[in-house]
């Protein structure tokens, strides 16, 4: 169980045998149905269950396709932005009781659905979390129309769903690239990066994507982009006038676990409603292993990753994606978590 005020603690290493779940989202017309049909008909030898939110156009004999009507439940735990999807809890619960097992589960949501309750369901329900693993949120984007959707001005207090879906994504499939110019693609890519800097963007035509790029990719918890060169994290050249942005931090040194817990707990308690996603790979003082965490709004969970290699610089890379983020405040707050004797010489 992950509570709003989460503390980081040691966990044991175990091979994760939980079934990976992919959340597939995107506006009507972005090519979701084409992609789903492609996934279901391709000769991959996997047993796949699909939970659909939209009127079922998908129907394949080998796969189990279930309909779901979005039921968003607030939780009575004092965490204001914490909601779960009741429909998914009951459908996934029933699925797990069946004897026929599935290699992959795909949850399709409409372009209007809020991805947060879907993700939070995997944090909040132990029965689900014990057997299923949120693998990635994959957002399909129509290259020709995404800019209009992102630019659409909503009435006060109403979310722009396209911005949210881009912000929550671990992978973006930029579809219909054959319908627009290279210059337009560059602009779209820049706009996406301004919102969600670390997201992997996969270009596609007719929703043709290699499945191993979007299924069972461990993108929700440990983004390979973060694993690689993180220079782009702190890059600011693509900043547009947008309220939903990413703030990346890359800081060498060791963290004081207690101070980190206090800062992160306080941050998510007070700003959790605005912070859509957070993830990072951290160096905790006294630990031989990387610490890997991921969060959605106020919920956060983490575990020990691989050991730091000999000669590898111990550093902390993390990213926040959200609304009205204060880059300076986040940078300073995080720097204050460095251990006093850290080589990077944090504040004592």
């Amino acid at each position: 169980m992950t509570n709003p005020a989460t503390t980081i603690e040691e966990t044991t290493d175990q091979v994760d045998t939980r079934v990976p779940v992919t959340v597939l989202t995107g506006f009507l017309g972005s090519g979701k149905t084409t992609l789903l049909n492609r996934i279901l008909t391709e000769q991959h030898g996997l047993r796949i269950a699909v939970i659909e939110n939209e009127f079922g156009e998908v129907g394949v004999d080998d796969a189990l396709v279930l309909d779901a009507e979005e039921e968003i439940f607030e939780m009575n735990n004092g965490c204001i932005c914490c909601t779960v999807r009741g429909d998914l809890i009951r459908i996934l619960g029933a699925l797990m009781r069946r004897r026929d097992t599935f290699d992959r589960i795909i949850i399709e949501t409409t372009g209007l659905a809020d991805p947060a309750p879907v993700a939070q369901t995997f944090f909040m329900d132990d029965e689900i979390a014990s057997q299923l693993r949120l693998d990635a949120i994959v957002t399909l984007v129509d290259a020709a129309h995404i800019l209009e959707h992102l630019d659409e001005v909503k009435p006060e207090g109403v979310e722009n769903e396209a911005v949210e879906q881009v912000a929550f994504a671990d992978k973006i499939v930029l579809n219909k690239t054959d319908l627009v110019s290279e210059a337009h693609l560059t602009e779209v890519t820049a706009r996406i990066r301004a919102i969600n800097t670390p997201v992997e963007i996969i270009r596609a035509q007719h929703a043709k994507v290699e499945l191993d790029k979007i299924l069972d990719v461990h993108a929700f918890d440990l983004d390979r982009v973060l694993e690689g060169d993180p220079a782009f994290l702190t890059e600011t050249e693509h900043q547009h006038d947008t309220t939903v942005t990413s703030v990346g931090i890359d800081l060498p040194g060791d963290l004081d676990q207690e101070r980190l817990n206090r800062w992160l707990g306080q941050l998510l308690r007070t700003k959790g409603a605005d912070i859509f996603r957070s993830k990072g790979i951290l160096a905790i003082a006294g630990s031989e292993r990387q610490y890997v965490f991921q969060g959605v709004h106020m919920l956060l969970e983490g575990e020990n990753g691989r050991p730091w290699r000999d000669g590898e610089m111990r550093r902390n890379r993390l990213v926040f994606i959200g609304r009205n983020l204060d880059r300076e405040e986040l940078n300073e707050g995080f720097a204050d978590c460095l251990a006093a004797n850290s080589l990077a010489g944090g504040h004592a």
């Binding site: 735990n77 009741g86 009951r90 029933a94 004897r99 029965e127």
Partner: protein, 339 residues
């Protein structure tokens, strides 16, 4: 703990993962997650018939006279008639997670956001108006005249003369299961947010039992209405409802399992509870032993190769257990528990 020499009265197998065991009179039914229910003679395990509801099963219940079996699942509900084996399967497309009989000729079925009251020919007698979410459980009050249904936001009670609720017990959150104590005094729900909510039926006065590590998906009163057992893992908690109710008291904790997969009170007033866990253990308890606020040890326990996913008492001396692989066993009550 005494050693077990009790051999099963009979064993059999079904070709599915059981999700429920139902029992009444001389029959038991094993409901499989895939959609088929196997009906067996309780005394011998001899097959009597099968019923299939396409799309899977979530719940099963016999009418009190065992003349009918009701089944419900993700896309509808079904009725089986013992006299001639007739099956009425209704594929409504609506999620149906609960069935409960009011009388031998009348039952309630959760159906999407409504609860339907049907006769034994499957004809609808009346229905509730839509709840705020899919109905999770149903239960009868006032000798089968008032129907309680749980959903997001609380419990609503309906009667035949109007489709609007005649009483509402509201509490924010997703209520997963209802337990009514047999004298109708208390309405309890198990909740997604790891709590039990309790209302006094008369005036709606309520309290919440919090602090469970996991959601409460199973909770049940014994026949006397004095004891309420629930999951919420790993301990089973048992609250005492004598006198003014459990407010201000402490529960007994029954620790044997890691994650609870089934709970079944022995019929009668013995306060004997059977439970099963995901790790493959089955335990029997005297829930009234020990003191409030203390941990109670199982009176009898056995480890099985597969987790038991459902169980029911065929009579006060026989517990029918069903494991994940479809193995069914009828266990006599351990000698140490017979009174």
């Amino acid at each position: 703990m005494t050693t077990a020499t009790n051999a099963p009265a009979w064993t059999t197998a079904v070709d599915d993962a059981p999700i429920a065991v139902a029992a009444a009179a001389d029959l038991v039914a094993i409901a499989g997650a895939g959609g088929t229910a196997w009906i067996l003679e309780a005394a011998t395990g001899t097959p009597v018939g099968t019923v299939t509801l396409p799309g899977g099963l979530l719940a099963a219940a016999f009418s009190p006279d065992a003349a009918h079996l009701a089944l419900s699942g993700p896309v509808g509900h079904a009725l089986w008639r013992r006299a001639d084996g007739r099956v009425l399967a209704e594929q409504t497309g609506a999620w149906s997670s609960a069935v409960r009989w009011a009388a031998p000729d009348r039952l309630a079925v959760a159906s999407g956001r409504r609860a339907l009251v049907l006769d034994t020919d499957g004809a609808q007698q009346w229905a509730t108006d839509p709840a705020p979410s899919t109905v999770t459980d149903v239960a009868w009050l006032r000798e089968g005249r008032r129907l309680a249904s749980s959903a997001y936001g609380g419990v609503r009670c309906h009667e035949r003369h109007t489709d609007k609720p005649v009483a509402e017990y509201k509490y924010l959150g997703s209520h997963l299961a209802i337990a009514l104590n047999p004298n109708g005094r208390w309405i309890c729900t198990g909740n997604q947010d790891s709590s039990i909510h309790i209302w006094r039926t008369r005036d709606g006065d309520d309290l919440t039992m919090q602090g469970y590590p996991e959601k409460i998906a199973r909770l049940a009163f014994d026949d006397t209405g004095r004891w309420l057992a629930s999951d919420g893992a790993p301990d089973i908690t048992v609250w005492e409802f004598s006198g003014k109710g459990p407010a201000g008291t402490s529960p007994r904790s029954l620790r044997a399992h890691e994650t609870i997969t089934a709970l079944a009170w022995r019929p009668g007033s013995s306060a004997v509870l059977a439970s099963a866990g995901a790790e493959g253990t089955v335990a029997f308890w005297r829930a009234d032993s020990g003191r409030p606020g203390t941990r109670v040890k199982p009176t009898w326990m056995r480890e099985l190769p597969e987790p038991v996913t459902a169980m029911a008492w065929a009579d006060p001396h026989t517990l029918v257990i069903a494991d994940y692989e479809g193995r069914i066993e009828a266990w006599p009550l351990p000698d140490s528990l017979a009174r």
